[in-house]
């Protein structure tokens, strides 16, 4: 029922973007797709007549678009670094960390290499996938491994966490370091294994209303919603840790 009407509203051709403050545009990291879509519906219900439009993508791409003048109201990034390029260009005020994400070891459901802790990843017979250091999950993985004093030689350094997860799902690698949220979203196809050093490598998600927002009031309201308890519940349900 409600899904249908929401979709119909989405499908209606929305006239030019920087219109009256009945429309809110949120740029958010792709890993927030599910949770933010749900929060968007909540926001629309709470503010009748307002339509929330999302632009999900890689945080770096979104930052690039914002610095090139994209008409966005809110930016939620998956790493402080990407948010920094936006704040450095004085396009946003001080960002707030609204949620955190913790690493887990992901192994295929049948766990063929019998991995059960971080040390097992150093075995040269175990094929491991990590994220590239340039992306947040890769930076976190490096931090965690350093903290454990382990040296892992991965077969690949993936461009994002989803790609890393896909490799585990399809059994191409025996283990990978990914976020808890990702393990959760993969359903039963991968198993997550917690490890203590994960606490040393937590990734922060910052959010900010943009200074050139076409709808500054709505932007602030949306940020508030995300930071509220209601927002936290949705995010934690998806596997995030409260900030």
């Amino acid at each position: 029922g409600s899904g249908d009407s929401g979709a119909a509203a989405t499908a209606a051709p929305s006239s030019s973007a920087p219109a009256a403050p009945t429309s809110l545009t949120v740029f958010a990291a792709a890993s927030l797709t599910e949770t933010f879509t749900e929060l968007g519906k909540t926001f629309e219900a709470a503010n009748p007549g307002v339509k929330v439009t999302f632009n999900f993508g890689s945080s770096a791409t979104l930052a690039q678009q914002i610095t090139q003048g994209a008409p966005a109201d809110v930016f939620a990034a998956a790493s402080p670094a990407t948010m920094k390029t936006v704040t450095d260009a004085s396009l946003a005020g001080a960002p707030t960390t609204f949620v955190r994400n913790k690493l887990e070891i992901a192994v295929p459901a049948d766990n063929p290499a019998k991995v059960d802790d971080l040390k097992d990843l150093t075995d040269p017979k175990v094929k491991v996938a990590l994220c590239a250091e340039q992306v947040p999950c890769g930076a976190a993985a490096t931090k965690a491994l350093d903290a454990a004093g382990l040296k892992v030689t991965p077969v690949t350094l993936e461009q994002d966490v989803k790609a890393t997860l896909t490799k585990v799902e399809l059994g191409e690698v025996d283990a990978a370091l990914v976020y808890k949220t990702d393990v959760l979203s993969a359903g039963g196809k991968v198993t997550g294994i917690d490890f203590p050093e994960a606490d040393k490598a937590i990734n922060d998600y910052p959010i900010a209303a943009l200074s050139k927002a076409p709808a500054p009031d709505l932007a602030k309201k949306f940020v508030d919603l995300v930071l509220s308890q209601q927002g936290k519940d949705v995010l934690v349900k998806a596997g995030f840790e409260a900030a």
Partner: protein, 253 residues
């Protein structure tokens, strides 16, 4: 020999499709395809790819003609420059488009202040991104066809009083029709599958700029199975269109 190689080539291209088919979640398929956003994204993909192809035909065929028929200094360089969007990783292509046509870009700034019109994050922006990435395919195919064509028909037309433009329109174009069709097919298919430049330049707004490949990308983030379903839908529709269209074009050409 020829047959064996051809069959290996065919298997190489078609087998991965089999992989997708096996993996596809057939039970939930009808429900997933019934979602209005899916049809919306599909419609948008088809419309933008078609408009982009039309734009590429209008601009690209004359460009190919220029490169194949008119000697001018620097032609070699221009010919190589035309392949740039091919080599450029699409995401960088999107950045380059933003730098030029974005609201703060070289040309975009002027567009914005003069007409109050800005390309990024609009459906027109999707067409621009797709055309940018796909046009080289058209230009290079058509140029190849032009080089292979028999110049003497054009000479014959000139002796009958046909201007360059008439020769082009009434003799050259029909003669190289198969080459143009091939180029247009490449161009259309490439535009249909375009992802990196589109998401960078035009963003990912459902109903406005979210084409199928972007929807697939988001689906990959949330439900990989849904991504496979969407990809299959895109494939089936495009293969059906190409199979229906190309044979008709090829035979009337």
């Amino acid at each position: 020999m020829l047959f064996a190689l051809a069959l290996i080539g065919m298997a190489f291209l078609v087998l991965p499709l089999a992989g997708l088919l096996i993996r596809a979640p057939w039970s939930t398929l009808p429900q997933r395809l019934g979602q209005p956003q899916v049809l919306e994204a599909l419609r948008l993909s088809l419309v933008t790819a078609t408009v982009a192809t039309a734009a590429c035909l209008v601009l690209g065929v004359p460009l190919a003609w220029l490169l194949a028929r008119v000697p001018f200094p620097g032609r070699r360089l221009v010919r190589a420059l035309v392949t740039i969007p091919l080599v450029l990783p699409p995401v960088v292509g999107g950045v380059a488009l933003l730098l030029v046509l974005g609201r703060r870009g070289l040309v975009g700034q002027w567009l914005d202040t003069t007409f109050g019109f800005s390309l990024p994050f609009t459906t027109a922006g999707v067409v621009v991104a797709e055309a940018f990435v796909a046009m080289p395919f058209l230009v290079i195919s058509v140029e190849g066809a032009l080089r292979a064509a028999d110049l003497r028909y054009e000479e014959a037309a000139a002796t009958l009083g046909a201007s360059r433009w008439t020769v082009f329109r009434r003799v050259t174009m029909p003669l190289i029709a198969p080459g143009i069709v091939a180029g247009a097919v490449l161009c259309w298919a490439r535009a249909l599958g375009e992802f990196g430049a589109t998401i960078t330049f035009a963003g990912n707004f459902p109903g406005r700029t979210q084409t199928m490949p972007l929807a697939v990308y988001l689906a990959l983030e949330t439900e990989p199975d849904a991504a496979i379903v969407l990809s299959l839908l895109l494939l089936v529709v495009s293969v059906a269109i190409l199979a229906a269209l190309r044979d008709r074009w090829v035979t009337t050409a």
